[in-house]
């Protein structure tokens, strides 16, 4: 047996080598590489008539709800924009991939996208974003991340559209202080999910607590924790009056409802992903309406103002039966941001990846007509928006969120990490 295998090996090696030489002469991949240096100022995914953008979203996994709203918002924006002639005389098209909230699938899909698209119009899911961070930088791939973590800002190619989680918490706590819900010396609770989402919000609550003379009691939980009775009981024991929630919507409902049921008179402030209008159909509705506030830079579905009103009208016309969430507003706003970046790059005459980055960093006041606060991308690595809404759950209106306070930024929020 061993005698037979050696000539075989030699045969394999010889044939392989000769085939290698013979076949690579006509390799399908080699042709592209030749004229790389003298390419005109259009990059991957750009032709004379179209610009291709990539979307890496979650349609089947844990964040499918958010993913769907964002997709609908994007579709509304680009349908209109493309009908009006597109950007830079080109129509914008999308290559959409579903990673199902699995980092491996995201990396695989990305390796396809990177050869086909100019930039990523959407990348959803913290673990997937984290997994792709180094590749985005190597590939110079400008990416609109559906995440509000300020840690992402370290990567120049990641575009955060809105106020970050830490800013949300800073503004939230300051708003409570202004309205007499907390005072110097108080303890505030913070129930947070593991990871970027929770950590970034915690950085904000810690900074605000320091500023306001408060102390923070932390409870870290996992996405699979369904019942927060024990955490709420522990916070109550500690005499906490205000609880910050950087959680999933179901966990928010659990925490608030448990407190209400136990007669625990606390106020809850949620990060923006901590709430979903679907909660208002659950038994927790009354408790949420009574005790929860959300600090968010995304306009609620029913926000007044020109931008939201227009999106609302076109959404109801296009998707009459679909859930009305502020993710639609967000998706639409992302479209606006991407359109402005592309337009700026077009003006500079460089529809390439480096051109896009340069254009992006030149935008210091992106206005989305009230969908998001004004965005300043002129200072790389810095937080782009510092204003938030304070909204209250309200089952009587579309989208389930009523504005309690229009865009504002607390003094600390304005100078935090600036």
């Amino acid at each position: 047996m061993s005698r037979g295998s050696r000539p075989a090996l030699r045969l394999v090696a010889a044939t392989a080598a000769s085939l290698l030489l013979a076949t690579t002469a006509c390799s399908t991949k080699s042709t592209e590489a030749s004229g790389d240096a003298s390419k005109p100022a259009t990059g991957t995914g750009v032709t004379d008539t179209t610009i291709k953008l990539g979307v890496l979203t979650d349609r089947t996994g844990a964040f499918a709800a958010a993913g769907k709203g964002v997709e609908q918002g994007r579709e509304l924006f680009w349908r209109k924009k493309n009908a009006a002639g597109g950007v830079c005389d080109r129509k914008v098209e999308f290559v959409v991939k579903d990673h199902g909230y699995n980092a491996q699938h995201a990396v695989s899909a990305y390796s396809q996208l990177k050869g086909e698209v100019l930039a990523l119009d959407e990348l959803l899911g913290s673990p997937m974003i984290a997994a792709l961070l180094p590749d985005l930088e190597t590939d110079e791939m400008l990416t609109l991340a559906v995440s509000f973590s300020s840690s992402l800002l370290a990567n120049p190619y990641v575009v955060v559209t809105g106020a970050t989680y830490d800013i949300e918490m800073i503004n939230g706590l300051h708003w409570l202080a202004k309205n007499g819900k907390v005072a110097k010396g108080d303890k505030v609770g913070h129930i947070l999910l593991d990871g970027d989402y929770g950590q970034n919000a915690l950085a904000g609550s810690r900074a605000a607590a320091k500023d306001l003379g408060l102390s923070v009691v932390e409870h870290k939980i996992k996405p699979t924790d369904a019942d927060l009775t024990a955490q709420v009981a522990a916070l109550r024991k500690d005499g906490v009056k205000v609880v910050l929630l950087t959680t999933t919507p179901a966990q928010t409902a659990s925490a608030v409802a448990v407190a209400e049921a136990g007669g625990y008179d606390a106020t809850f402030v949620g990060s923006n992903p901590a709430f979903s209008p679907a909660l208002l159909k659950s038994p927790a509705r009354a408790a949420l309406e009574k005790r929860l506030l959300i600090a968010t830079s995304i306009a609620p579905f029913s926000a007044t103002g020109a931008g939201p009103a227009e999106v609302r009208a076109s959404f109801v016309a296009a998707f009459p039966d679909q859930p009305k969430t502020n993710w639609v507003m967000y998706g639409y706003a992302q479209g606006e941001v991407m359109a402005q970046i592309l337009a700026a790059a077009c003006r500079d005459g460089a529809l390439t990846r480096p051109g896009l980055l340069k254009a992006f960093q030149s935008l210091n006041n992106v206005d989305t007509a009230g969908l998001l606060p004004p965005l300043d991308y002129g200072k790389p690595g810095k937080i782009p928006a510092r204003q938030v809404y304070i909204v209250k759950p309200d089952s009587s209106i579309d989208g389930g969120q009523r504005i309690a306070e229009e865009f504002f930024a607390a003094p600390l929020a304005k100078q935090y990490q600036s």
Partner: protein, 298 residues
């Protein structure tokens, strides 16, 4: 002190639900020697159909529950009849791995049907609570506890005294003799799966009512805790399942409630606690607290 009591109450009521789940595992294991990894799927099926019948078809709650349990039982029976039964004589591990496939398929379908929403259960208790000596206990938890205790009592009474129960015990203890005595193993196995389906559905109901907002895909992750519960008690001990469930429920609640005191172990340690307890128990008793030790013959 109130804090501790509150945690214990919360832990026991959660533990009772785990006990229902663990009992389902154990019953199936005793009857068919299969570790049913599709148990979380049965839970999802039961809870999903209960919620659907209640909130979409607007049936009265008890009817919706009965129908939901019925669907879970049917699914369990289908798994036993079309899949597990056909694999009789194969290694326990092979059949158990097969149920992983069943779990994947069923859960994918339920998650797909659930879509993006949280499906409320529409139960009559809603967010009602009972105040008791400084403790606050949600009505749903009391209902879950009463339901669990009633089901467990009924099960054990039936298991001990009814002909079927005797048949099941005989079949588990000595299959050959039981067969000679005329116990039809296939029927006993079917019965065990039906019981497991019903228990899982009712546990699912308990896990999705207040303070949980309703059924969501993540609900099934809770069912995984029944694994350590069943193992701690011993996979072939029905009483062990109850003890294991309570141990896991109370451990988890305590680890959560005293999270700040346990922070040196890393935040979120409560999710690891049940498994840690399980490994310790297994090191002392390799077949769980009440499990029978295997005898080896050459």
């Amino acid at each position: 002190m109130t804090h501790l009591l509150q945690l214990l109450v919360s832990g026991v009521s959660l533990g009772a639900v785990y006990a229902l789940l663990a009992l389902g595992f154990v019953v199936v294991f005793r009857a068919t020697e299969v570790v049913n990894f599709a148990h979380p799927a049965l839970l999802m099926v039961g809870a999903y159909f209960t919620a659907r019948f209640r909130t979409v078809d607007e049936l009265p709650f008890p009817v919706a529950v009965l129908l939901g349990v019925g669907v879970a039982v049917l699914v369990a029976l289908a798994v036993q009849f079309f899949l597990v039964r056909r694999m009789s004589g194969r290694s326990v591990i092979a059949v158990s791995i097969m149920t992983i496939g069943v779990d994947v398929v069923i859960q994918t379908e339920i998650t797909r049907r659930l879509g993006v929403d949280i499906l409320p259960m529409g139960d009559p208790w809603q967010d009602g609570v009972v105040h008791l000596d400084g403790l606050t206990i949600p009505q749903t938890r009391i209902a879950a506890l009463v339901l669990s205790v009633a089901l467990l009592a009924a099960f054990f009474a039936w298991f001990r005294y009814s002909d079927w129960g005797v048949a099941m015990r005989a079949s588990a203890e000595n299959p050959e003799t039981a067969a000679l005595m005329g116990v039809r193993r296939a029927r006993v196995a079917a019965l065990a799966w039906a019981i497991a389906g019903a228990l899982a559905a009712l546990a699912g109901l308990s896990l999705t009512t207040f303070p949980a907002p309703g059924l969501e895909p993540a609900t099934s992750a809770v069912a995984l805790r029944a694994f350590p519960a069943a193992i701690i008690g011993g996979l072939d001990s029905t009483a062990g399942a109850v003890v294991g469930g309570l141990v896991v429920g109370v451990t988890e609640a305590l680890a959560q409630g005293y999270a700040s005191e346990l922070s040196f172990l890393g935040l979120g340690f409560h999710t690891v606690m049940p498994y840690l307890v399980m490994v310790v128990v297994l090191l002392v008793r390799p077949t769980g607290l009440f499990g029978t030790r295997e005898l080896h013959r050459v």
